[in-house]
Symmetry: C2
Subunit: 428 residues, 2 copies
């Protein structure tokens, strides 16, 4: 086992405060680094990850041995495990981020005032990002690279089961920073497994951390949202709805509903509730339920659906608030678009919802009145993803309304400032 | 005196929670109100304020009598006092907001994906804004109108000395909402003078409040920033710097420096520190100091400035961190643009800074490396204002980096969502 820093709560607080200070110091030079320098660093990181494959696999072997001893669940071991192909994937992910447009310095608005002042709104880095994630070693590279691309310093706190793997990957990233002449502290990995480190990050480390991004399951996100004293980009859950209107093309509705639910059931953009227009109960309901059943999906039916199909399993009140993340869907009949909007308003997690309709007035009302980060018309909820949006890479999806909403990519990891060009103007 | 709700801490908490619930409920219909409806409401509010002049003045007379009895400072009485002209100004301010472009529904970005999905990023209201301000009755109307324009419900908590005046103005605003068929709870005024009401707002009222905007002095903002459990748009202070480079046009520098410091000394965009390029000590320093002195400004000089002008009052270390809001300026000689950037990095409040230079490379470095909300080249810091930026009206200026930065106008009081238009796409 690699050397572990000996700690108690006091020294953890000190270690974390020091990490915060160093991140803040590194954020200055990083914020003004040229796009070329950042690209050079990222490409060097990708090369280093490949060159360091043996070291990374050796560190990963320690984590896997510990996981075995701790009798970690198979699914957790699987996401912890690295191999040549996965390491190549990590390097490729960094390269993809390297090739994105640099967001820093981009002019996002410009106008001239009657007095001749020329005002520009220009993207700037946010500063220091804290990323808290579970034992997925690849997130160390993804999150580190994405934050650096946007000119931010980053403090990474990965799950304790992956600490050795994450350290090895982190060492490769730091080599890339060094090769480009960027401060090594721009990407720091919390070196202790103690949970008190997370608590310290959530305080903001005396103002050093500008935003926290939790990546992981509901309990991690819930803790971060409850305790954080700094802004958080996150979604607690993705309780996504699909509404199938009477005007929907049936074949399209079937293929989208099955895709939205079953393509991958464990992702936040998977549909959890199907709302069918009551006026389509005789035409659309049965084919949709059959298609879902054929695809292997369990159906939990509302009282109105049960009246039509009494053999189905009934949905309880709890079902409407449940993110199954599994091959289960709750199904209700609603009173047209108004009923769909009312149901979604009551139960939605404000992540992603879709409407299937040929009637454009129905889609328009859905788009106007449903208040979720992502709304889709005649497309699958599983498109709720930064890559699918063309953002290149994402650090997560946010359901809050402040600053970032929807997929959080490099642009969402920036702020902005105003540059005003004058020719001697004074204010009268 | 008007009827005051009898309260203790428990009932205040209950009253405030109820206000939060009602604001949240009102925010729904307001968010989907048409631009025409909101404009109609705002114009009706302006008319109502004018029509209600007698009632508003009568209520203001009670506040003024109470203020006299409480021996309130003259400056506080002045900002509390209303007259026909000031009421006309309030109505005019609401009309200006009515005429702004409606931000809600504006498409701020749009692109198409290779699979044909058309993605739009569209402005949406934020939800519920809490505004906490001092005893300035006009803010009741300004803040109420601005929030409604952006489709938000608002909870107004004005200073206790202006409670009667604010109530009378609030009644006029509610008449305007009613005339347009918008929910009366879209603009609520906290009906109790107790400070516990502020504490309740800062908790977010069980998730009802999306953002808090404090308008007032440093102690109010500091309390809000320290205690708020919801996002805050604010600036604690405006410690604005002007750097005069060796390459500066001297006449331009004199006029901008005097304007930046002396036009109005009490506003957040007033300059507090003048940094002069050491290389210009022999050419620019004396004329700048003379111009400031002639304009009635007291000078507090750094050690290097004192060497050249030993008769000046010396600046202490504290001066560099002091927002005078008065006819006083601290002056230092710095080692060119690098020295200016280092000084600003150390002492700035990240509000507004200006560079006076003919050398465009100097301006470019200043623009790139200084991390404040507003940077100006060859123009006065007193342009740091939403109206001067062409935003029509502002609720304040923010120095945070999240969501809103710089002047906070109607656009900054919005969020956004993604609308994705498909033709049956499923994710492979």
């Amino acid at each position: 086992m690699l050397h572990q820093v000996q700690t108690n709560d006091n020294t953890i607080a000190d270690v974390m405060e020091d990490i915060g200070r160093r991140a803040k110091a590194a954020s200055g030079p990083l914020a003004i680094a040229s796009p070329q320098t950042k690209t050079k660093a990222l490409l060097a990181m990708a090369d280093a990850v490949l060159a360091d494959e043996d070291k990374i696999l050796a560190a990963n072997a320690i984590d896997l041995a510990n996981a075995k001893q701790a009798e970690l669940a198979e699914s957790l071991v699987d996401r912890l495990k690295l191999d040549t192909q996965r390491i190549a994937g990590i390097a490729e992910g960094i390269r993809t981020i390297a090739e994105l447009d640099d967001p820093v310095g981009a002019v996002i608005a410009a106008w001239e005032r009657p007095n001749g002042l020329q005002i520009e709104r220009v993207r700037t880095p946010l500063g220091v990002i804290g990323v808290i994630y579970e034992s997925r070693p690849n997130v160390t590279a993804d999150a580190g690279a994405l934050c650096v691309k946007a000119g931010n310093a980053v403090i990474l706190r990965g799950g304790s089961d992956s600490l050795n793997s994450s350290r090895a990957i982190h060492a490769s990233l730091v080599r890339g920073l060094k090769q480009a002449g960027l401060p090594e502290d721009a990407i720091q990995l919390v070196p202790v497994a103690d949970r008190a480190a997370v608590g310290a990050m959530l305080t903001g480390l005396s103002g050093a951390i500008d935003v926290i991004v939790p990546r992981g399951g509901k309990s991690l996100v819930a803790r971060v949202q409850a305790e954080a004293r700094v802004p958080v980009f996150a979604h607690l859950e993705g309780l996504c709805h699909i509404y199938v209107d009477q005007s929907a093309d049936l074949e399209m509705a079937k293929s989208i509903v099955v895709n939205a639910k079953m393509r991958r059931t464990g992702i936040c953009g998977a549909a959890e509730t199907l709302l069918v227009d009551g006026a389509a109960a005789g035409t659309h309901l049965m084919p949709l339920l059959e298609a879902l059943t054929e695809a292997g999906c369990e159906i939990r039916a509302s009282a109105a659906v049960l009246k039509v199909f009494p053999a189905l399993k009934p949905a309880t009140e709890e079902d409407w608030s449940t993110e199954y993340l599994d091959a289960i869907i709750s199904v209700a009949l609603v009173d047209g678009i108004s009923g769909a909007i009312a149901h979604i308003k009551r139960y939605s997690s404000h992540h992603t919802e879709a409407v299937i309709a040929e009637d454009s007035a129905v889609a328009e009302r859905f788009f106007n009145e449903v208040d979720s980060a992502i709304l889709l018309h005649n497309a699958s909820t599983q498109f709720a993803d930064g890559g699918e949006f063309g953002m290149g890479a994402e650090i997560g999806i946010a359901t809050g309304k402040m600053h970032a909403r929807g997929p959080v990519g490099v642009e969402q990891l920036t702020s902005f400032k105003y540059r005003v060009h004058g020719t001697g103007q004074t204010r009268p």
